[in-house]
């Protein structure tokens, strides 16, 4: 039976990108590849935002997608919660129907 796959999505402040990537890359056993992309956050609290963010009315965020076996997903979330106890990092998990490579 094929392994059940989940997609973990993390939305974090842009300045945490390097930190997050390092932690994820350093996890044991090693994770498969993942994707990051800069995105903008909307409708958030602007208390800690920089002037630029206030001007543009959106907050600089980084989005991480990890497609992992179901049992690994929670391990990642737990590790991150331990090392980066930041309320500004939002995560959710979605099911992945199927996954493969073209060749």
């Amino acid at each position: 039976m094929p392994t059940e796959l989940k997609r973990l999505t993390l939305v974090a402040p842009r300045n945490l990108e390097e930190e997050l990537v390092t932690i994820l890359l350093g996890m044991q056993p090693a994770l498969p590849g993942f994707t990051t992309t800069p995105v903008a956050g909307h409708g958030e609290n602007f208390d800690g935002a920089s002037v630029h963010e206030r001007v543009r009315g959106r907050i600089d965020r980084v989005l991480l997608w990890l497609v992992l076996p179901a049992d690994a997903v929670m391990r990642v979330v737990t590790t991150l919660t331990g090392t980066l106890p930041n309320s500004d990092v939002v995560w959710w998990i979605e099911p992945v129907e199927t996954m493969g490579r073209l060749a």
């Binding site: 300045n15 350093g26 090392t83 980066l84 930041n86």
Partner: protein, 1021 residues
Amino acid sequence: MLHRLIAFSLAQRLLILVAALGLIVAGVWAFLRLPIDAYPDIAPTQVKLILKAPGMTPEEVENRVVVPLEMELLGIPKAVMLRSTAKYAIADITLDFAEGTDIYWARQQVSERYAGVAGDLPGGVSGGLAPISTPLSDMFMFTIEGGGLSLAERRTLLDWTIRPALRTIPGVADLNALGGEVHSFLVTPNRAQLSAAGLHFRDVADAIERNNRNDGSGRLRDGDSALIVRAAGAIATLDDLRQVVVTVRDGVAVRVGDVAKVSYGALTRYGAVTRDGEGEAVEGLVVGLRGADASQTVAAVQQRLTELQRSLPAGVRIETFYDRSSLIKRAVSTVQDALVEASVLVVILLLLFLGDVRAAVVVSVTLPLAVLFTFLLMHVAGMSANLMSLGGLAIAIGMLVDAAVVVVENTVSRLAPHAGDTAELPKLYRVYRATREVAAPVTAGIVIIVLVFMPLLSLQGLEGKLFAPVAITIVFALAASLLLSLTVIPVLCSLMLRESAHRDPWLMRQIERGYRPMLDWSLAHGRTMGVLAAVGLVLGAAAYFHTGKTFMPTMDEGDMLMQLVKPASISLDASRDLDLKIERAVKAKLPEVEHIVARLGSDELGLDPMGLNETDMFLELKPRAQWRKPNTAWLEEQLRDVMKAFPEVEFGFTQPIQMRVSEMLTGSRGDIAVKVFGPDLSVLNSLANQVASILERTTGSQDVLAQTQEGMRYLGVQIDRQAAGRYGLDVSAVQDELRAQLEGSQAGTVIERQRRIPIVVRGAEQIAAAPELFGQISVARGDGGAVPLESLASLKPTSGPVQVRRENASRFALVQANVSGRDLVGFVDEARAAVERDVHLPSGYRISWGGQFENQQRAAGRLGLVVPIALGMIFLVLFFTFGAVREAVLILCNVPFALVGGVVALWLSGQYLSVPASVGFIALLGIAVLNGLVLVSFFNQLLATGMALPEVVREGALRRLRPVLMTASITALGLVPLLFASGPGSEVQRPLAVVVIGGLVTSTALTLLLLPVLFRRFCAR
């Protein structure tokens, strides 16, 4: 943008390495081409007019030469100051132009105005614009010795063999000839015979001038060829001169030989040079062009002199007694030694802190690269390597590695694999990330240090010219180090550092062990820390008020000059004999003095027109190792003792360049120059004497000198117009006759072997030496026969001015003094209060205080204005970096604490608060801010990970302990060699080093202990 630069460098490693190699080559090339001098070019745009008015009294010179010229010269655009001095037979007019005015343009203006008024000046006034020179122009001085030559022969050798040879050297403006006797044809009319023939001196001179010419007349045709007709009539020998017919009386020709004695003689002398108490000498002084490379010029002069040696008469030697290149060598080697020592210290420190040879090597690569880069930039900017610019580099040496230290330190930590970590993240990425993490704070820090040095560029006057090169070099060096840290250093890190487990070296472990409890204590006792900090501030304020303020420490040039002022009416011979006597006394008492060369009176070019009573005595000293006590102050004391035997001579000490600098900038010599302005010379004189006596009473005064305007003995010849008229004479005829009698008048030149030898018509020597005979000389009557002078005029001894000094067309008297053993500003405040209390100025009179003191006030005023602006700019940079006012303010809080350490160190070391000390404070400001920046930006990074605030400050401070300590201790240790250096220039760098080292102690303590407390208290978001 920064991360793109880092990424590009790491992606193009080969390119970066090749570029670094190219930089090395270009840097070495630039260094070899940098002009080397002892000091930066400190000359303002200044134009000097020197006019000779033979025989004229100072007041005549003032009224007939200076005033008309001043009227014309005042109002030249961009001229800021017009100073003039009227002395016996010399008018010296100096115009200072606004900073940045082109010297050639300025000379053109003065030249045009001078041409406009030249026609109105009395006949016989000669001279014009002095050569373009600076205080650094006197590059090379020598005397001509040996060979048994007479003074006239030596002078001829100098004038006609050596001078033309040296003048062709690029960089030499002129060769100033001093002392000796200018060979001339002397016609001494016999007064009785002359009067009997009804002739005046003028007639003899005119006849000679009319009868002394070779000329061409044109061509004659002689068949097919042409003959060029040459009419010879030039005087070539003494006999030719004797045969000149002056007039024909009753059909008999009266020849020069009939009424005058014709012989070889000398021009009237206005000065003399003596050497080693042995007798007179002839001195040559090489005047360098503005902007010339001193070391190259001096080397060329030396080479030319060696070449000339062969063509000199047997036994003749050229003895050098001043050679700028030796000062340059010592100045440059002082800085070089400091640079090398600092570099060694820095490398040792890096090893101790990093415990990793490879890391230490990577960081230390920054040093030579940044230094070479700086040379390249200096070359491009057209700067010269000198005491100040190289000093700037020596000061910056510790700061140069700061950026690289932060980058490498972070990379070392980042490259250490975590326990059990097998994730294969590329090494390049890790280096990139480590560099990128610190790139922003490092850049902001360096930009801030650069910003704080900007105020120095706004300094004006002497301090601006001296310290701008310091600031520019530091800015160049730091900019270079920043660029290298973000390009070459990451590349080298990626190539050289290993991805191995990194263990803190022993030193760091010990320091951390000590620091941890201290940090915990201060975090637990926030209030107590606040109180301690406040106490520190109060202590700093107290130290500030107890520290004396002065302009600048005196730089030891290694040579000494004694300036002598003798009684105003002294004759040339007596003045010379007195000089010889003093030289013998000094030589006998002080074995430290190798040679003494003294020059009195005026030089030939008129660059330094002194009176007959003034002497500059140049002491060539043996190397310090041979002194009984290697201390300049001690030697001065010994000289003072020697001078006690000559109570009639006033004296002061200075150094060759120092003397020229003070003359050029204030027109006077000495730390303090008090000028009393007003119209009447005798009132000025008495006021000046009162001021001088007050200065003498003030503690700390030394060598107080009132340059008295009055006191010269005169013989007043009041011509009776009626009597003169009765004898068919007019006033000017009598005056001309008297001048020709004593001063002599020039009657053309004889060209002898390409040498132009003047013909002088002058009265007999006996009359010039005996005032009683002077009254009896006979003057030819207009209607035939002769009349004694006494019948034409009344002769009465009087007294009159020695000289008349003027500034912006107002007369003034000058009092100058040096200050020793106390600070300049305190001395001036005290003396000024006493003068205001005790000296009552009549209306129309005013007093101004100048000299070094003026520079200090100006520098303090300017810094007081610009430093706050720089602080504002720092605040802006911090605000841009953090995007928050609170953090920016917090980091700026570092500044006062850094200053506390600096002030206290200054106070404890007994140094004064001077301009170089202020430069130290400025540097300190930058370093303190950089440290705070490194720490606070890391706190922010930790906060972003969601760490709790108490943890953030504790962890952050511990993790940033190493870079903070490293940057501070490396900067401080880099300056340690300057504390102990003793060569020329070290006096300027020492207060700076004291301030920075002292300030770093307090500012680092504050950064590590108080800043975490403050961050926890104020920056919690």
